[in-house]
């Protein structure tokens, strides 16, 4: 692998880079060079090269928003978003792994104690790979139905349950798993002192006895993203792996964690649209039918215009949401759902349009536009389906607190 990747992260006193003018290198050009023309083959094989993931991770690029003090790149949401979109334009599977790593890191950063942040975040910026597990067989959109149990037993917690469709779990060294907390086995003085919550997030090394990771066979999209089911059979980890050391309301816990994932998926969808726009424009400018380039046919020209509208609209909505994150505005919560919803829908429609423009030229597995078509459809489902996003937006309008 290129030794450009091995450059040290910026010194702790280096300014947070708000844009692509990073002092160390151009990460987008680096990823372009690393992915080269391999994304098609990765998609067909259903696997990303692990050394590539570890090397990108060790240079801090799989979760680029982790603060510099924790060994990360300290990118703003806006800068990380543009980087995410670039990766997404090349390979949605690689982008999905970034989303998972970033979501795990964000959960640790947001809910972990200073000690836990110091223990776990450097692993995520040091080449270790991570995934975050929410969904279960009976708990998809309705995460309140999750039954994975985290039972306190003295100085340990014991996990039992079954997570499904955990993105990147196939590659992960660390799993951040969400479950219901049963504190009755706490023998310490603080037993029950941190009540009021019903759920916890726990950092579980994937090689802990009782963890069984099984790949989802032949996923519709992001085929190389390492989606897997995670069975947990009496999995025992130190109680110090419970983030924040306390149980919290499940909705707060999962929504906060998912917010990062939604932002990342939204930018990834901008990338899908950019990949489609580039391919469709090139094809329409060069391929001739009826004696003129396709783009001279008005019905095809309209497809191009609509793709451009979709890409630009998604970009602006994502930029707005990222600005809300970078400003610390509470509007970030709704802006993130809006960005995810707009971007995923635009990507699904845009990718379908791009397939229409390229027609037989893109009608084979592995082609950037064929991948986009499958990957984008999955983005309308993951991290809050279209319908869940619509419900959340409507509840916001109605001023609902519960």
């Amino acid at each position: 692998m290129s030794d450009r990747l091995l450059t040290e992260p910026p010194a702790p006193d280096a300014a947070v880079s708000p844009d692509a003018e990073t002092p160390w290198e151009d990460p987008s050009a680096m990823v372009t060079a690393l992915v080269a023309d391999e994304a098609d083959a990765w998609d067909r094989a259903g696997l990303l090269p692990v050394p590539l993931l570890r090397e990108l991770g060790a240079a801090g690029w799989l979760c680029a928003q982790v603060p510099v003090v924790s060994g990360g790149r300290g990118l703003s949401s806006a800068a990380a978003g543009e980087f995410t979109a670039h990766v997404g334009s090349l390979c949605s599977s690689l982008r999905s792994v970034m989303t998972s790593q970033g979501m795990a890191a964000w959960t640790i950063e947001r809910f972990g104690t200073a000690e836990q942040r110091a223990a776990f975040l450097p692993r995520l910026t040091g080449g270790g790979l991570a995934a975050a597990g929410f969904s279960e067989r009976a708990a998809g959109s309705d995460l309140s139905a999750m039954t994975t149990r985290v039972r306190r037993d003295g100085d340990s917690v014991v996990l039992d349950g079954h997570k499904v469709w955990v993105t990147a779990a196939h590659y992960a060294d660390l799993l951040v798993l969400f479950g219901r907390y049963d504190g009755s086995g706490d023998r310490g003085e603080d037993a029950g002192a941190v009540g009021g919550g019903e759920a916890v997030a726990v950092v579980v090394p994937a090689d802990t006895p009782g963890v069984r990771v099984t790949r989802v066979a032949d996923p519709l999209g992001c085929r190389a993203a390492g989606h897997a089911d995670v069975a947990l059979d009496a999995v025992r980890v130190p109680a110090g792996h419970v983030l924040g050391g306390s149980s919290l309301p499940l909705p707060l816990l999962v929504t906060t964690a998912l917010a990062y994932g939604r932002m990342s998926v939204a930018w990834g969808c901008v990338g899908i649209l950019r990949g489609c726009l580039t391919a469709a424009t090139r094809h329409a400018a060069t391929r001739e039918q009826f004696g003129v380039p396709l783009g001279e046919h008005q019905l095809v020209a309209r497809h191009l215009a609509e793709l451009y509208v979709a890409e630009q609209t998604a970009t602006r909505v994502c930029e707005h949401a990222s600005r809300c994150w970078d400003d610390g505005s509470p509007e970030q919560v709704v802006a993130t759902v809006l960005a995810k919803h707009v971007s995923a829908g635009n990507a699904a429609r845009g990718a379908a349009t791009a397939v229409q423009v390229l027609a037989s030229a893109a009608a084979r597995d592995g082609h950037v536009v064929a991948r986009a078509h499958r990957d984008a459809k999955l983005m309308e489902i993951i991290e809050g389906s279209n319908e869940m996003c619509q419900l959340m937006l409507a509840r916001h309008l109605l001023g609902r607190t519960v």
Binding site: G197, T255, G328
Partner: protein, 90 residues
């Protein structure tokens, strides 16, 4: 904290709540009395308190009881504003 600060904090939280929910609230009204907490609303409250009062709400301080009423949120803000006021962190 002086009572002036307390009053200002309460007022700001009420302003946000009323703008967000389009209805008036008393300082001791239970925001979540009629059912489970809305996930988006919970996160908005946390981010709003952090932004408005320059605090960081982490770990066990994120428990629901700290956000149930304006009075509870005001107490949380005042505790976290004082050095080393966090429950489990820093």
């Amino acid at each position: 904290m002086s009572s002036f600060d307390t009053e200002a904090t309460e007022k700001e939280i009420l302003r946000f709540l009323e703008a967000r929910t389009k209805r008036p609230w008393g300082t001791d009204a239970d925001l979540f009395a009629s059912g489970g907490l809305s996930s988006l609303f919970a996160m908005e409250l946390v981010v709003h308190l952090e932004k408005s009062f320059g605090i960081s709400v982490r770990g066990a301080d994120l428990r629901l009881d700290n956000f149930r009423t304006v009075t509870a949120m005001t107490a949380l803000v005042e505790r976290l504003r004082t050095p080393a006021g966090g429950a489990t962190d820093e």
